[in-house]
């Protein structure tokens, strides 16, 4: 499986040793999240509800494409791609 660089938003860096990006392996976004959970327990719940559904104000980009407009968590990942996890523009 390819090794993927994942950029983390400020709010989640404390769970990853204060790193702004980490490297995990995965062939799909779902597998990347599984890998993140393995390396940084609790991170999955920051991104997804208990039933595995992506939280509504969490955006995951594969390179520059929002996975919501691709195949969601089943979006395949090619080697060399970069994942960006960002909070969406919302709130007040």
């Amino acid at each position: 499986m390819p090794m993927i660089t994942v950029s983390l938003p400020n709010a989640l860096r404390s769970r990853a040793g204060n790193r702004s990006s980490v490297t995990v392996s995965g062939s799909t976004v779902r597998e990347v999240i599984d890998a993140l959970e393995h390396d940084f327990p609790g991170l999955r719940f920051n991104l997804c509800y208990e039933n595995g559904e992506l939280r509504p104000y969490v955006n995951i980009f594969l390179n520059s494409d929002n996975i919501r407009y691709l195949r969601g968590l089943d979006t395949p990942i090619l080697p060399g791609a970069r994942i960006h996890i960002l909070q969406s523009v919302a709130g007040g």
């Binding site: 709010a11 609790g42 719940f45 509800y49 208990e50 039933n51 595995g52 939280r55 969406s88 919302a90």
Partner: protein
């Protein structure tokens, strides 16, 4: 570690949960107050409470807007925060998704490791190890009528938990908009306890369940006596909720959110009722007090703001009392003002302003 390096014994500490973080207010005389922000900043803190049964652990909800909702605890008055080893997360097979954590209650005095949490979607969570691990109560989660439960405006929230200190098998929870639910067998099964409480928004005004109970308190020495502020009235029961008695009497409205009582004089209760706009009726912000368990209510206004622009609302956890005598009474508004009385409501002062909207106030005297 010294728990009291900043707060001497006897200090009254208010934990004020707001839309943008948790604040602590402390006082040695309930007259001069110091406001201290905590490191739980920028998040929706629906509720916070100290548990002094072993140490001085501060629990708080971290209801995040983006990255999830968590229960957190601090052993240093909010400077640093921990996450439970197994926190509040529904089992995947339950098909439930945690929306908000609404209330945290330390358990009975003789069960020092036990705590309870209420959530939206409505569920009761229990810890027996001082908050390190949590499990959902299956009896309530699997209630046979659950598919018929509908939310209030704030969600399908379990916002009140009363564990009867005299009977280990009995407890009540309050759910919007389901009503009062009681267990007599340690949480294995639950029955509705809503008789004679109204649901004016339903075709059947007295249904078995579906009432919007806002907040409930138990008499400290008569365990079968409880009081509730409901969407449609104020009530008391003398038989553990089997039947309720309307005690609105001379109050100007049947609608309000919070209710609190004086533990030393338990026939003394406090409510804040509101008008159609969900703020003070008329131009004077008013707390109402009864000295006779609801037979008669009196308005308390001395030191509270008045004027044509005064429109203050108080949410269900925004009113509390402390355990001193005369009791202190504390009111936090949904516009960020915090008022305090040290003489059972006779006189009030503004002790904090410009806070974010206040969701909850709890009072603790440090021992």
């Amino acid at each position: 570690m010294s728990y009291h390096r900043s707060y001497p014994q006897g200090t009254v500490v208010l934990a004020v949960g707001t839309k943008r973080g948790l604040f602590l207010l402390s006082s040695q005389d309930r007259e001069k107050w110091q406001v201290t922000p905590t490191a739980l900043n920028g998040t929706r803190v629906f509720y916070a409470a100290f548990d002094q049964r072993s140490g001085c652990r501060l629990f708080a909800t971290d209801n995040g807007d983006f990255f999830g909702t968590f229960l957190r605890y601090s052993d240093d008055f909010g400077e640093t925060w921990q996450e439970p080893r197994r926190g509040i997360q529904f089992p995947p097979e339950s098909n439930q998704k945690l929306v908000n954590i609404w209330v945290i209650e330390p358990g009975r005095p003789n069960e020092p490791g036990t705590l309870y949490v209420g959530t939206d979607p409505a569920a009761l969570w229990i810890s027996h190890d001082h908050g390190e691990t949590w499990e959902v109560n299956d009896g309530l989660l699997s209630h046979p009528t659950r598919s018929q439960w509908g939310p209030g405006a704030g969600g399908l929230c379990l916002h009140t938990i009363i564990a009867d200190p005299t009977r280990p098998e009995r407890m009540w929870v309050g759910i919007s908009a389901v009503g009062c639910v009681r267990s007599d067998d340690g949480g294995k099964t639950w029955v509705f306890a809503n008789r004679n409480t109204r649901a004016d928004f339903q075709p059947d005004k007295y249904p078995e369940f579906g009432q919007c109970l806002h907040r409930m308190v138990q008499h400290p020495t008569q365990p079968d006596t409880l009081y509730q502020q409901n969407h449609c009235g104020i009530y008391k029961t003398f038989n553990a909720g089997d039947e309720w008695i309307d005690i609105q009497n001379n109050l100007p409205s049947d609608f309000g959110f919070p209710i609190a009582l004086d533990v030393h004089h338990p026939e003394t209760l406090f409510v804040i009722v509101e008008g159609m706009g969900r703020h003070n009726i008329g131009d004077h912000f008013t707390v109402y007090r009864t000295r006779n368990a609801g037979e008669q209510w009196e308005p308390l206004t001395q030191g509270l703001p008045a004027g044509p622009g005064v429109r203050l609302g108080v949410l269900r956890h925004g009113l509390c009392t402390d355990r001193l005598d005369p009791c202190g009474v504390y009111v936090g508004t949904n516009t960020g003002q915090l008022f305090a009385s040290r003489d059972c409501g006779d006189n009030w002062q503004l002790i904090a302003d410009f806070l974010p909207p206040i969701y909850s106030v709890t009072a603790t005297m440090l021992v």
